[in-house]
Amino acid sequence: MNDWPTAQEVVQEEAATTDQPLARKPLVLNRRNFSWITERISGVIEQPAPRWWWVCFTITGTIAMFGLFCLGYQISTGVGTWGLNHPVGWAWDITNFVFWIGIGHAGTLISAILYLLRQKWRTSINRSAEAMTLFAVMCAAIFPGVHVGRVWMAWYLAPIPNAFGVWPNFRSPLMWDVFAVSTYFTVSVLFWYTGLIPDLATLRDRATTKIKKFLFGVFACGWRGSNRNWRHYEMAYLLLAGLSTPLVLSVHSVVSFDFATSVLPTWHTTIFPPYFVAGAIFGGFAMVLTLLIPARAIFKLEDIITPQHIDKMAKIILLTGSFVTYAYAMEFFVAWYSGNAYERFAFWNRIFGPYWWYWWVGMLFCNILSPQLFWFRWCRRNILVVYFVCMCVNAGMWFERFIIIVGGLHRDFIPSSWGIFIPTWVDIWTFIGTLGIFTSLFLLFIRFLPMIAMSEVKIVLPEADAHAHSPNGNHSVAADGMERI
């Protein structure tokens, strides 16, 4: 009777004889080892700056300087230098703010939410995506700061006891915004720096000059890679990911409250928080790919940021793009179904009003139609198609925010108070300037810090698994490097 094999034995027998059961594609291609990863990623910053870097940095730096000049001009002269007037009191400034904050969200999604979901492929892209988050939030913070007019009064936003005995209104969504964005930036910096410490230690141990050794030594905090340290480190990393996850969802929800708590048609809707969060991740992933596709080619990182990674990011763009499309459709449906004349007019005006082409090009073509290409594997694997869609989404998400903000403001309840918004050169160049600031900061980042988290990529190599030999003698890593589940 005992001669019969148990169910477990049968399964084990079959698993051992089947050729690569449920094999997963390796995350790092060509069987690269630990030291190759260290060499390749550290090499990027240890080599002298290539000529293209100086050319790019000169161009983006010049644009950034011009953006700063526009900010200086706007602050010294007044908000009248922008095209704002009655009834459009928020236009490019707040559009840019929401646009930049949204871009930041993809970085936190990759670093925190994908970490909690055990998506190991995130390790190749999380460092640069987090850096992108920080730079995007810096660009975002400029606009609400200066649009109030008197920047030197910005400290009124802080809840500090002052001589006048005046306190801010904590019930205002604009105040929530101050707390949400500043918390978001601070927590993102802490998370990013915590992740950097082991890699800074790697650079410290490879440093060739005294000054590099000193600087990397200071910022690595004397990290030694001890397991007693890793134990606390991993817990801290997990908790920071767990904290960042609700935080990132809250930030764009709070940004959407700025609009949703008002009374304007198209603004006063309950769909805004999830709609904004989905749009933020949608636009942010497009920006991550916009930055990483050239970077992986230039620095020959194709073995670490593989076609599989691009494929997965494209799928996320398709998914979040579908959320956004659904939200757009719902807005129109509710406008019709509510029977509210103002709401119906506002959406009619969105498609056929003075800003009609913003909707047809920005929302319909860029945000709704272009990501549909990602249903096809061929498109997700073709770098040029991916890049084209990402550029469409980058532009489309800016248009979407403009349509929401200016579209809502320029024609509200009474036709006598209608108006139109025309940007001035200061509007335009302040925005282009922030693009310069963003790219300059990113170029500095890839010059001076490891753009890929070395210590994290090493974990996804098959040989990092201490349990490579399973008890039944079945090697969990197949000879060709395919990882088994």
């Binding site: 005046v166 209104n169 490879r206 709070v254």
Partner: protein, 184 residues
């Protein structure tokens, strides 16, 4: 303990060929009853905490208290002005307990902010960092611990530490480049 050349001994260390070799060695050293020892690797090795006989990190408790502090700070900062210092009537809305839902976003943000600071400072303080100098850095090979090296180090302060016994277990567990690391 001193070496014949007069150096104070910090520890004895060995290098292992792979993460799994280090994992097996850690289990042997744990079972041999050593207390003051550590393993070093370029990345956290899954299951190493159990192999070393370490429990779950209690850093989460620090973060929880950080979060509670943040929440209480927000409560104080919001209710203090609203209920005493500077009652603000906006849109004719109440400023007593009925206004509490409008305080939730800032309570949430402050909770997250303080928790994140607690996590960041706790991981540094609990690990004894920043510590720019450490005797282990006297070992030339140890540079590879942040690249592709796997090390096990038994400190001389360990009550069970004798040169013979430490060398024996490091050799038996497959360690290479067994070295005495100096304190200075």
């Amino acid at each position: 303990m001193r070496t014949p050349s007069g150096h104070e001994v910090y520890a004895m260390g060995a290098e292992y060929s792979s993460a799994s070799a280090l994992y097996e060695a850690a289990k042997m050293v744990r079972d041999a009853g050593f207390k003051r020892w550590d393993v070093f690797s370029p990345f956290p090795i899954h299951g190493m905490d159990a192999a070393m006989g370490l429990g779950k990190s209690w850093l989460s408790a620090v973060v929880l208290s950080g979060g509670i502090t943040g929440l209480l700070t927000a409560v104080l900062v919001e209710f203090g002005p609203s209920w005493g210092l500077y009652p603000l009537i906006v849109h004719g809305k109440p400023y007593d307990w009925r206004t509490v839902p409008a305080f939730f976003p800032i309570m949430f943000e402050m909770t997250v902010l303080f928790s994140a600071f607690a996590a960041f400072f706790a991981v540094l303080i609990m690990n004894g960092l920043p510590r720019p100098h450490h005797p282990i850095f006297n070992w030339e090979r140890f540079k590879r611990a942040t690249n592709d090296g796997f090390f096990l180090v038994i400190e001389a302060r360990d009550p069970r530490f004798t040169e013979l016994e430490a060398r024996e277990i490091l050799e038996r567990s497959g360690g290479e480049h067994i070295t005495i690391v100096h304190e200075d």
